[in-house]
Assembly symmetry: C2
Homo-oligomer: 471 residues x 2
C-alpha cells in the first residue's frame, strides 16, 4: 500500500455525494443469513490457501516483471477454481521500473557494508561522498542550495508504531519528497531511514519521485539498524558512503486488472466492489502487501458464491485484483477511467490493503438516507470486535480514483501495529500472517459484501467530478 | 559461538581434576565488598559503550578480513582506555575463508529468489539441479550412494527455541555433517534450513566441514521463510534451484589474541580468566556474538580495576579477546598451546559467548575442597536471580582447550531464548542487546571474577592430559 499518496487524495476529495433517495435498508432475512456466513467464514481457510498459493507459486511480482504475467494467469485460474461466474481482465499500461543490483558501504576507517534498497523510481548510479544527516524532511528542505554539493543527504526520521498506521504518512512523505529536496541542495545521492518499524536488517522499499526539471539522483532506503549505525558514525566524525545502484526505468509494460464476479440473485447491473492489488514489491513475496487483500476478498466472494443463487443478495459481488498499485495506483486509475461512467452501478466499494491484522473499525461516510443501512452493517460486524466510525471516509488505495468519481466507499480498518515491521521489505512473507486474524478479516469482508449487496436502496454512489490528481 | 563443537568437546572432557588441597574459602571482607560492586555494576554502562564502539567503529570482523586487524587495534586501545595495566597480544595463525557473493533462485514455473548465505568453509561454485528435501541429517545420511546425482540435498530440520539453547546442538550438527553426507549420496550442492530461530529473511551462517577425501560442494543456509517456501515448492512438484556461491579459502592469516590484565593486590602469578571472542561472522556487526562477551568481560575487569590496588583481590583479572573463534576456536587453541604449562596459575575461567540475555545459572563442577568457595560465589550471585548448578561443567568455547589441560571452569549461563533469532545472521546488530539484561551480565561477571580472585585457595586447576581433539 501507498498510504502517503492515498492520504493526499483523501484530503482532496469532496465529502460523499448527496443523492435524493429513499432510506436504504438491509432486509431482516439477509441479516439472519449473515449470522451463518459469519460462522462459516471464521472457520474457512480459503483465504490462507489463496495467499499461500500466490506467494509460493508466483512469489515476488513486481509490476512489469516476468512474474507480473504469471500473477495475472494465476488470478484468472484462481477465480475459476473458486467458482467465480464471470472472469475477465482489463489492460493497464505503465512504464516499467527494474531493480538489478544495490549495495552501500561506509568507506575509510570504519569501513563496513550497509543494508540498503533502491527506492522505486530511483535511477542507476554510483556515488560516493560524505553523508549529511537530517532528522526530518523539513530540515533537508531548509538546506541551502549548493550546501550538499558532492554529498549524500540522509533523512533519519523514525516512524512511530501505531494501530492505525498514521506514522507512515510522515515517513513516506520523506521518502517521496526527500530526493527532490536533496537535489535542490546539490546532493549527489539520497539515503532514507526506511519508512517502517521492523528491527531486522531488511530495508523497506517504496516509490519515490523526482520533481519535474530535476536530474534524478540515486535514492535508497537503509534498514533501521543501518540508519542507527550511520547516525552513530556521522556523530563520531565525517563519514563517507559509497552507494551503488543498478536499477531504473526500462520501457513500457501492459499488465491486467483481473476481475471476477459472483452473480447476484437479481439480474441488474449493480454490484458491490471489493479487492486488493495483485502486484507486490520484489523484495518479499508480498504476503501482507497485498496477498492478504487478494486472499481475503477472493475468499469473501467465494463464500457468497457457494450459496444457491436464490439465497444470494440481489447484487453481484465484484472482486478486483488490481495491477501495479505500488507504481502509483496505476490499476486503480485505469479501472476508474474505464468504469467511471457506470459509477451508479458500483453500490459501494472496499479494498483490503493494510495486511491481515484484526479489523477493528468499520468506517463509512454515507449520505443521510444510507446511514441506517450503514448502521445495520456495523451492527452485523460488531460481533467480530469491529467498532463503527460513521464519519470517517476511506476505501483503500485502488478504489480512490473511482471514489473520486463518486463511488461510495467503506473502510474495514486493519490493525497495522505490526504491518510496517515487514511491509515493502524482504520480510513480507507468508509467515507474517496470523491465520486467526486472517479469518476475522474474511468474515468481515464477507458480511460487508453480502449485506451491502442485499441492501434495498443505495449508499450514495453518484457521478461527480474528481479532484485534480495530486501527481 | 559454536555450541556443536564445544558440546562435542564437553562430552569428551574428563571431570575437573582432583587436587589435594586445603578447603578454599572466600574471605568475608571480599564478600562484603562485592555488595557494593554488584550495585555499581548494575548501574554502569561501560559494557554497552564498549559494544557500541566495537560494532560501530569496527563493524563486522570476519577472521582474516581487513577488519580483523582493525579489531585487534581497537581491543588494545580499548583495554588501555579502560585502565588495564598490562596489555599484550599473542599470534593466532589460520587459513582465511572469504565470502564474496552468494545467491540462489528457484528456476522454472515458480521462478523466484531465495535468501541464502554460504556456510563458512564452503567452496565457490555454481550448481543447478532438482532439490531433494530431508527432514533430518539422519535421513540424508541414509540416502543411497549416487541417489542424489545431479541434485541438491536440502536438510529442513527446525531448531526448537529454548532458554538453554540445546536445540542448536542438533541443527548445527546437520550444518557440520550435512555437506559430507550429501556428497556421499552424489549431490552437487547442499542447502540447510538455517540453524536459528529468527523469522526474518536473514539466513544464519556458521562453519561447516568436509570429511577428508571428499570433493567439497557449494553449501549454503536458507533463511527460515525460504526453507518453508522451498518445502512447499518441493511438495508441489519437482523444483530446481540454482545456487551461486563465490567464496572460499584464500591463503593464511595471522591475527592476535588480545589480552588485558588488571593487577591484583598481591604480586603472584595467579589470575582469574574471563573473556569473549573478538572476531565475528561477516553478515552482522557481531553484537551478541560476541561483542557482548567482549563488552561484559572488559567492563567487569574495568570495574575491579577502578578499585584502589589495596582493595582489589589478591589475584590478577585476565581478560582475553580471542581471535577467530568462529573458524574453530582457533584463538582458544593457540592460547592453550601457549599457556597450558602455566595452568595452575589459571585459578578458574569463564567465557561469555552466548549473547547478553539474563544470566540464570552459575554452573561449576569443582573438586570437594573448592565446593564451599563455589557455594559462596553462588550465594553472592543469587541476588541477581542466578541459581547454582554445582554439578554442571562448562566454560565457553575458547576456554575449552585450556580447560582440557586442567584449568578449572565456570559457566555463567545466559538465557538464550532469543539468541538464536539473530546469531550468525545479518540481524546480529547492536539493537539485539537489552541494556538492562546486559548490566545484569556485567554484575555477574564482576562478582565472579572479583570473588574468585579473592579466594583463599584454588578451584582445582592442575595439569592434565587433554582428550583427543574432536576435529
Amino acid at each position: 500500500m501507498r498510504t502517503f499518496a492515498t492520504a493526499v487524495i483523501a484530503t482532496l476529495l469532496l465529502a460523499a455525494p448527496l443523492a435524493a433517495a429513499e432510506t436504504t435498508r438491509i432486509p431482516e432475512a439477509a441479516l439472519a443469513r449473515a449470522e451463518g456466513l459469519r460462522a462459516q467464514a471464521l472457520a474457512d481457510d480459503t483465504a490462507w490457501r489463496v495467499i499461500e498459493s500466490l506467494t509460493t507459486e508466483v512469489g515476488p511480482r513486481l509490476a512489469g516483471s516476468e512474474a507480473d504475467a504469471r500473477a495475472v494467469a494465476w488470478a484468472k485460474a484462481k477465480f475459476a477454481e473458486l467458482g467465480y461466474e464471470r472472469i475477465w481482465t482489463e489492460p493497464v499500461t505503465f512504464p516499467k521500473w527494474e531493480r538489478r543490483h544495490e549495495s552501500a558501504r561506509v568507506v575509510g576507517a570504519h569501513a563496513q557494508p550497509l543494508a540498503v534498497t533502491a527506492l522505486g523510481g530511483s535511477p542507476a548510479g554510483i556515488v560516493e561522498g560524505e553523508v549529511v544527516r537530517f532528522d526530518s524532511l523539513a530540515a533537508l528542505e531548509a538546506a541551502a542550495p549548493g550546501s550538499l554539493a558532492g554529498k549524500l543527504a540522509f533523512v533519519d526520521l523514525p516512524m512511530p508504531r501505531g494501530r492505525d498506521g498514521h506514522g507512515y504518512g510522515l515517513v513516506s512523505q520523506a521518502r517521496y519528497g526527500g530526493p527532490s529536496a536533496a537535489i535542490r541542495a546539490g546532493a549527489i545521492g539520497f539515503l532514507l531511514r526506511s519508512a517502517g518499524t521492523g528491527s531486522h536488517r531488511h530495508p523497506h522499499t517504496g516509490g519515490t519521485h523526482f520533481a519535474p526539471g530535476l536530474a534524478p539522483i540515486p535514492a535508497a532506503a537503509l534498514a533501521l539498524p543501518d540508519a542507527d549505525q550511520l547516525a552513530r558514525l556521522t556523530a563520531l566524525g565525517p563519514t563517507r558512503v559509497r552507494l551503488e545502484l543498478d536499477c531504473g526505468w526500462n520501457g513500457e509494460y501492459t499488465s491486467e486488472n483481473v476481475i471476477g464476479e459472483i452473480a447476484g440473485s437479481g439480474d441488474g447491473d449493480e454490484m458491490v466492489v471489493i479487492g486488493g492489488h495483485l502486484d507486490s514489491w520484489d523484495l518479499g513475496t508480498g504476503a501482507i502487501d497485498d496477498g492478504a487483500g487478494i486472499g481475503i476478498t477472493m475468499a469473501a466472494g467465494h463464500l457468497i458464491g457457494r450459496l444457491p443463487r436464490a439465497e444470494r443478495p440481489a447484487r453481484r459481488i465484484r472482486v478486483i485484483a488490481f495491477a501495479n498499485e505500488e507504481g502509483g495506483l496505476v490499476g486503480g486509475r485505469a479501472y476508474a477511467e474505464a468504469h467511471h461512467e457506470a459509477v451508479r452501478t458500483h453500490l459501494i466499494g472496499a479494498e483490503s490493503d493494510l495486511g491481515a491484522g484484526r479489523i477493528y473499525a468499520f468506517a463509512t461516510k454515507v449520505p443521510e438516507h444510507a446511514r441506517e443501512a450503514a448502521a445495520q452493517l456495523a451492527a452485523a460486524l460488531a460481533p467480530l470486535g469491529i467498532e463503527y466510525r460513521p464519519d470517517t471516509d476511506g476505501c483503500g488505495p485502488d478504489l480512490y480514483p473511482i471514489h473520486g468519481h463518486g463511488m461510495a466507499c467503506a473502510a474495514l480498518q486493519q490493525d497495522a501495529t505490526r504491518y510496517f515491521d515487514v511491509q515493502h521489505s524482504a520480510a513480507d512473507t507468508l509467515d507474517a500472517i496470523d491465520r486467526e486474524e486472517l479469518a476475522q478479516n474474511v468474515a468481515a469482508y464477507t458480511l460487508f459484501a453480502f449485506l451491502a449487496a442485499a441492501a434495498e436502496g443505495d449508499f450514495g454512489s453518484a457521478p461527480q467530478t474528481p479532484p485534480p490528481s495530486p501527481w
